[in-house]
């Protein structure tokens, strides 16, 4: 198990390094002169030179990369050109929106999807299965930002239950925080439901596959009723494909937050990177990209470790 962990950590670290090379290459090497991109065509030679100096563009590329990556390692993401604040501070501020949003959405989608998937698998071929899976099939097809618009139309414009967008910020009092949470409800639902539809389908088909395995028959031959076998023997085996999809989904969820934050005008990381792109603030773009990519890699690492916890066969280092 320790060898397995060490190996997975090493692989995760290598992936992270490779990703950082890609980000650095695309944003700093490919454009030739990032300073010109940031300032646009009409910049004066003096401002250009000043920014070049500040970004250290006069130094050789490998040195710049090393400098950048060492900075990242100690949490120094550089200074934003447009916000006149460190990228780290910007990220920390915006995480207060994006992190709760992602966590609520992920929890919501898991809590809906797995019971629904198991339920449908247990009633395979019956009306309940057909109806839930039909609904899931539709859910998979709905783009989350369109779903968000529909939610806004019904719950914000129509029923006026929640705000249509914006974020009041977390506050001191419970009432403030409730207002902030309310602003996250629709975005979280818009993110979670399409994901839940995918996950429910995966859960159902994984359960159906597992229910056909020989060891399920062995368990039935011990005298355990169908439902008990479903929960005690099938679910844990079915979790492996489900986890795989959850790992992949997390990446889509992060990407989804970028869109959803823009739909609801939420000041999160997604909105930050989006605006940074429009303002060509490459330093912010780099920092946020690395954070997103690192999170995805970390989640995949966590998924791998969960595999090993669920399935003893995967604990051997391979």
């Amino acid at each position: 198990m320790i060898a397995f962990l060490a190996k997975r950590l090493a692989v995760g670290f290598a992936t992270l390094l490779a990703s950082s090379v890609i980000v650095f290459f695309v944003l700093e090497v490919l454009p030739g002169d990032p300073a010109r991109i940031m300032l646009g065509m009409n910049a004066s030679p003096e401002t250009l030179a000043a920014l070049r100096l500040e970004m250290g563009l006069d130094r050789p590329i490998p040195i710049r990369y090393l400098d950048w990556i060492m900075g990242l390692a100690i949490g120094d993401f550089g200074r934003s050109y447009t916000y006149s604040s460190t990228v780290m501070d910007l990220i920390l501020e915006r995480l207060g929106v994006s992190l709760p949003l992602a966590v609520i959405a992920l929890t919501l989608s898991t809590l809906i999807a797995i019971p629904v998937g198991v339920f449908a698998a247990a009633r395979r071929g019956r009306a309940a299965d057909t109806i839930t899976m039909g609904a899931a099939q539709v859910g998979v097809a709905i783009p989350n930002f369109w779903f968000a618009l529909l939610l806004i139309y019904v719950f914000a414009v129509g029923l006026r239950l929640v705000p249509a967008g914006g974020f009041p910020g977390w506050g001191e009092t419970l009432a403030d925080n409730w207002q902030a949470l309310k602003a996250l409800i629709l975005p979280a639902v818009a993110l979670a439901l399409p994901q839940a539809a995918i996950l429910a389908r995966v859960t159902r088909s994984a359960m159906v596959d597992v229910m056909g395995e020989d060891y399920i028959r062995t368990a039935r031959a011990k005298g355990m009723p169908h439902r008990t076998v479903l929960w005690r023997h099938a679910l844990r085996n079915a979790l492996i494909p489900v986890l795989t999809i959850m790992g992949l989904q997390f990446a889509f969820l992060l990407a989804g937050t970028i869109i959803i934050e823009n739909v609801f005008y939420l000041p999160g990381l997604g909105r930050l990177i989006f605006q940074a792109i429009i303002q060509r603030d490459l330093i912010v773009v780099e920092g946020v990209l690395m954070l997103l990519v690192a999170t995805i890699i970390l989640i995949n690492l966590a998924v791998d470790i969960c595999y090993a916890l669920i399935d003893p066969r995967l604990r051997l280092s391979r």
Binding site: S19, V26, L27, I37, P143, W146, Y153, I258, L289, I296
Partner: protein, 289 residues
């Protein structure tokens, strides 16, 4: 167990018969076929010219002359959706083509070689998987500015590891099979075996995944153009139409309704088609549904 599986492989004649009885496949085929037809028709005929702006006619509701209404510039929404479908379909086709074209050779090659090339490919996949289409699109746009080509590249790149994985897994399951050993005992090389034996046997796997990725491509393109990172105006795109509709949702909700429905129906059709194909092509699953 020796519950002799009633194994009924797929005689070709039967395929069409069974296809006619597969609801998912039929509905999926009809829906996708209609969308494709709509895109084709839009090259020759649309109800209204979408390049002409008639501000006087803006944001009209549903009527006989404009079945889906008009947008904030007075353009006919039905016509916009018809022309917009080209963009969605083109981006998705190229992105899936890119993913298959690079991913399948990579995956089958890794499976045939094993060892270091295989390890490297898997690590490479891990890296690409850390860049979902939207994130690489953001990265590319930061440097080159927005455009449909960027969207294609971003979506296509993410498809490469998807197909590489599927092809590799399918090929790895086939290599130890006895018919491959027999082919090797006939002195056939890895390339010949991959072409003659591996590819035909993973084709159905790839086809099913292709329809799924196609659907995901349509969704991703819509997301990108919603953010303004995809096709640029005046080229209409479904995602962009939704963006334009958003600020006017209280006044004219139908602006948001039809483009969204177009996306959802297309994706639904493709997913149904994929499900149906899976049932039809994979004999293992036939009796489990």
């Amino acid at each position: 167990m020796s519950l002799d599986p009633v194994f009924v492989p797929t005689p070709k004649r039967n395929f069409f018969l069974r296809a006619l009885h597969n609801r998912s496949f039929l509905i999926g085929l009809i829906v996708t076929g209609s969308i494709a037809l709509m895109a084709l028709v839009s090259f020759f005929w649309v109800p209204y010219d979408i390049t002409r702006l008639e501000v006087a006619n803006r944001m009209q509701g549903i009527s006989l002359s404009h079945p889906f209404g008009t947008d904030h510039m007075g353009r006919d929404i039905l016509s916009m959706i018809m022309v917009g479908s080209r963009n969605s379909i083109a981006v998705a086709i190229v992105a899936v083509g890119l993913g298959m074209g690079l991913g399948v050779p990579l995956g089958t090659w890794a499976a045939a070689r094993g060892g270091l090339p295989d390890d490297l490919l898997m690590r490479f996949n891990d890296v690409i998987f850390a860049f979902p289409a939207l994130i690489s699109a953001l990265m590319i746009t930061a440097i080159f500015g927005p455009g449909a080509v960027n969207a294609i590249i971003a979506i296509g790149i993410f498809n490469v590891p998807v197909f590489a994985r599927i092809a590799r897994a399918g090929a790895l399951a086939l290599w130890p099979r006895e018919f491959i050993l027999a082919a090797r005992a006939c002195g056939k090389g890895r390339l010949v075996i991959t072409i003659e034996h591996i590819l035909p046997n993973i084709a159905s796997l790839l086809l099913v995944q292709g329809t799924i990725q196609f659907a995901l491509g349509i969704l991703a393109e819509a997301g990108l153009s919603y953010l303004g990172l995809g096709a640029q105006p005046p080229m209409p795109s479904w995602g962009r139409m939704l963006f334009d509709a958003q600020t006017r949702i209280a006044l004219a909700p139908h602006l948001a309704l039809f483009p969204g429905l177009a996306i959802a129906i297309t994706v639904l059709g493709l997913n149904l088609l994929g499900d149906g194909l899976r049932d039809l092509l994979d004999p293992r699953l036939r009796h489990t549904r």
